[in-house]
């Protein structure tokens, strides 16, 4: 089923056997801001939510019965009491299940840009001190400046399936960072990425990655949808290549999400949005489309059959996902409260739900 986190609660969309008809259920946590709703690939009954409200502090809600019921974490993510930088967590923005060899381990990224970890499937959380207290944290995270409208966010926490100690993360105000020792030490990994909004040429950090993805079957390959374009990095190289230069010029390569085909490292989908002028972040020229590459970014194809001919859609970075079917299903949710899905890898689209609140996240929960 699809887990749809919105500004006003959690909805689920469950398909019939043929994945043609979708049953919409919800809301749970009506009025709560559900930043991210994620299922555990290691245990399909476990689902975690990063939630807050307009007034209350952030927390995590946990389900062990596939979203039928939830209980609150007994020790939610939080910065350390007495923190010299006096940080307090506003949002549990991003959730990543941990390595298969570490069942019960998850990472959470926050706003301000802190990193947190649980080892008991989300009940109790601790700060990752190697990141939060790194001697360069305030420099990398441009603290106390907050650089995005809702505050800077730590997102795209990635765990290498080959090595639980090999981690990546993204800062919306700061760039991509890598650790090879389980989060005790970190270094920037932004060479090759543009940062047009910074005064210096070729800075080592300060960039604005929107979403970073590692290919699950080819973990040396990463893709990134950045504020300044679409990139690919093949390790051990440390220099990102701007594959978005191959997108049509009148569409551009700005957007928030990027999704990868789980079985094909050369295939990725993006949802381009207008990043010119005052940064409208809506479908370029008012013509919504998904774009796909099947050759690791050398060429891109437009996919818009079934999407509105005219529309000004915005899709947030966590609001696009793929399922595990063959052919692959691709889905996205808009800030206008619509969920769209394709059963054929983007060749055709139908509307699965409408009139929902602003959608923050769309994630697939496998059976």
């Amino acid at each position: 089923m699809l887990l749809v986190g919105t500004r006003k609660g959690l909805w689920t969309l469950t398909p019939d056997a043929a994945r043609h008809a979708w049953h919409v259920e919800g809301p749970q946590f009506l009025g709560h801001i559900v930043s991210h709703a994620v299922a555990d690939p290691r245990d399909p009954d476990v689902i975690l939510l990063g939630v807050s409200t307009g007034h209350l502090g952030p927390t995590v809600m946990r389900s062990t019965d596939r979203a039928r019921t939830f209980v609150e974490a007994s020790k939610p993510p939080a910065f350390t009491a007495g923190d010299p930088l006096e940080r307090s967590l506003r949002t549990v923005f991003w959730l990543t299940p941990g390595h298969p060899d570490e069942p019960g381990c998850w990472y959470a990224g926050g706003s301000p840009q802190g990193l947190f970890r649980t080892e008991d499937a989300g009940d109790t959380w601790s700060p990752v001190n190697g990141w939060n207290d790194h001697e360069n944290w305030a420099l990398w995270a441009e603290w106390p400046a907050e650089n995005t409208p809702d505050g800077s966010m730590l997102h795209s926490v990635i765990v290498d399936p080959r090595d639980a100690n090999h981690l990546y993360l993204g800062l919306s105000g700061g760039g991509v960072f890598e650790s090879t020792d389980g989060g005790n030490d970190w270094h920037p990994l932004n060479d090759g990425c543009e940062a047009e909004f910074l005064p210096t040429d070729d800075p080592s950090f300060g960039h604005d990655p929107h979403t970073v993805r590692m290919h699950p079957a080819m973990p040396d390959r990463l893709y990134q949808q950045n504020h300044c374009g679409i990139y690919r990095l093949d390790r051990p190289s440390t220099k990102w290549q701007r594959i978005g230069d191959n997108m049509p010029r009148d569409v551009g390569d700005i957007g928030f999400p990027i999704e990868l085909h789980p079985r094909d490292p050369d295939t990725a989908w993006v949802f381009p949005m207008d990043g010119t002028d005052v940064w409208p972040r809506t479908s370029p020229d008012g013509r919504p489309a998904v774009y796909v590459t099947r050759d690791a970014g050398s060429t891109w194809a437009r996919l818009d059959e079934g999407l509105p001919g005219r529309g000004w859609l915005t899709v947030k970075r966590q609001a696009m996902t793929v399922d595990d079917a063959d052919p692959l299903g691709v889905f996205f949710g808009t800030t206008g409260g619509e969920v769209w899905g394709s059963p054929d890898e983007g060749a055709s689209w139908t509307n699965l739900a409408a009139h929902l609140p602003e959608i923050y996240s769309v994630e697939w929960a496998p059976a």
Binding site: H55, L56, G57, T59, S74
Partner: protein, 86 residues
């Protein structure tokens, strides 16, 4: 003393709008509330001990942000969400 609970926090108090709590300061009362209703305090007070931006505490009809504000001798205080967070 009585503590009036705003609607966003009643999921912690089993729906109760008014509960009893003990303490000589606002902070002590919030700690007692957290003992009775686990998790409530962190939604109201952040990890640095500061009242969250969009929450308010009324002591003798005055809005206070200093959690060391004494409440001895009072019969009731009120927790409230601010209009700014709506």
């Amino acid at each position: 003393m009585r503590v009036r609970i705003p609607t966003p926090l009643r999921s912690y108090t089993g729906g109760d709008k008014v509960v009893d709590a003990a303490g000589g300061t606002v902070d002590e009362v919030l700690l007692d509330l957290d003992r009775q209703f686990p998790g409530l305090r962190f939604r109201v007070v952040d990890e640095q001990g500061r009242l969250r931006t969009h929450m308010k505490v009324f002591v003798a009809q005055e809005s206070v942000r200093d959690l060391s504000t004494p409440v001895n001798g009072l019969e009731e205080i009120t927790l409230m969400q601010a209009l700014s967070g709506g």
